[in-house]
Structure formats: C-alpha cells, structure tokens
Subunit: 116 residues, 2 copies
DNA sequence: TAAAGTAGGTACGGAAAAGTAACTACCCTT
DNA sequence: AAGGGTAGTTACTTTTCCGTACCTACTTTA
C-alpha cells in the first residue's frame, strides 16, 4: 500500500484492515477460535499459503493475533485473537447480520449460489 | 480475487469489502456524505484514479453506492451511499471507536505521527 | 521398500493487479 | 495566452500475488 502519513485513527485502522484477506482471517479466528495454520488455510477458501503467512505476520505484528509454536515434528503453530483483536468481534457480528440481509436482497451473485 | 463459490453470506460480504480501498471509500461517503469524484479522490489519500474508478464501479454494481452524472462540461459525477450502503454506518462507527482505542494503545506507527 | 502423508512454511517464474503518466474536450480564471 | 478544473481512459511499467515445487523429520500406506 502507498506510504502516506496517517490522517486519523480511522485512516490507520482502515489501512490495517485493507489488505487482502485480513478481515476474513480475523473473522475465522473470531468465529471458530484459535486455529492451526492448515485449518485456517482451509477455512479461508482461495487464500494462498504465502498470503496467509504474510497476513498472519502482519496481524501478529499489529498485536491483533497471537502465535504459539509447539516444539513438534511436524511443526504445529496455532493462531488466535488477542484481547485487542477481540475488539473487532462486535463489528464482525454486525457485519454478519448485514450480510444475511444483503443475501436476502440478492446482492451476492445468485447464479453461483443457484448451482451449488 | 479468486473465483471461489461463496460459502455463506459472511464469506460473500467479506469478499465484497476485501478489495483495496473499498471500506475506505464507503467510510468517506458515510462520514462526509455524497462526494464528487475528485473530492472523493482527495479524501482517500494515496488512491489512484484507476483504483477509485474501478472500486466505485464495483460498489455501484453491488448496489452499495449510487452514481449521479450531471449533463455538464466539465463532467460532474456525484457518488453517495445507497440505503443498502448505509447499513454499514454502524459498523464504521464502531470501527472508529476501536481505532481511537488502538491509537491510544500505540497500535499505529508512532514514528510517522511524531514527525508530523 | 518406496511413496505418500503430516505440519508450516519458503523460493521462484509467471500472471494479475496496481501505479504512473499522458491524454480527452470543454469552460473558467489569472 | 497559460493554467486550472471536471471525470475519467489508455498504454506502459512496476508491484503484488499465484501456482508450483521444495524443505524438514517423522508416520502411515501400498
């Protein structure tokens, strides 16, 4: 993203969440609790390993998620929302209600749903 | 973004809002009301004309924003939130409060703010 | 036995997305 | 006259992301 000085807190949080898959990952962790890397990857259909890795690093760096690495073979790394990340729960809940309303309104492409 | 079948309404809305600048644009329209293209571009620091154009087309297509073109030279096009787009107001308000809290916690890079 | 599977990554070449600069045609201001 | 404004569009360049292959050390399957 472009390097511009933040204008206000809202600008900063929007830029933080703006990157691809960011909100989606947060939602999965919020909805399903702490997840291993592979489970997280499966819960976010379409995300690539490299994107998941990078997003998780960013979110961890921002203090939104925690990362716990077990000393095992094969490696087992678990990710979860920090208390700070939990701040976003309400937002995601509201978004979920809106999503259901929008679905009823036919906002999301019906043709793909129709074929499922 | 990848072409995967939506899993649920939340998946769909997250994908809709996932694209770069999307939420930012919606917030500006929510916060400041209907805007002309140029004003919108100035209100979203760092966005390019091509990205703003593309995002606006997408949001219009999704029924989140409206577009009103005046028959003038030079062209004057105004964009605003539809009633559906207004659904997101509460979410953005909440996000704003969280942003202020996170700012106090030092989540956003302080060094840039310090030099402003 | 060899191959496949498990986990969470990393490296690489290519495709896709985004950035950048120039341009449009008209009107208004300096 | 030059410059600024309007909302884009286009062509080229740069950056980002994807898909694939690979890594480790162990277990399971054919």
């Amino acid at each position: 993203m472009p390097k511009t000085p933040p204008q206000c807190p809202m600008d900063s949080i929007l830029r933080l969440l703006m990157g691809p898959w960011t909100t989606y990952i947060i939602w999965v962790l919020s909805d399903q609790g702490p997840q291993r890397f592979g489970a997280l990857k499966r819960a976010v259909p379409g995300i690539s390993t490299r994107m998941l890795t990078e997003r998780l690093r960013m979110l961890q760096s921002a203090g939104v998620i925690w990362r716990e690495q077990a000393e095992t073979i094969p490696p087992a790394v678990t990710y979860g929302l920090t208390p700070r990340g939990n701040d976003l729960r309400g937002v995601l809940d509201t978004l979920g209600h809106i999503a259901e309303r929008w679905k009823d309104e036919g906002v999301f492409a019906d043709d793909e749903l129709g074929t499922v």
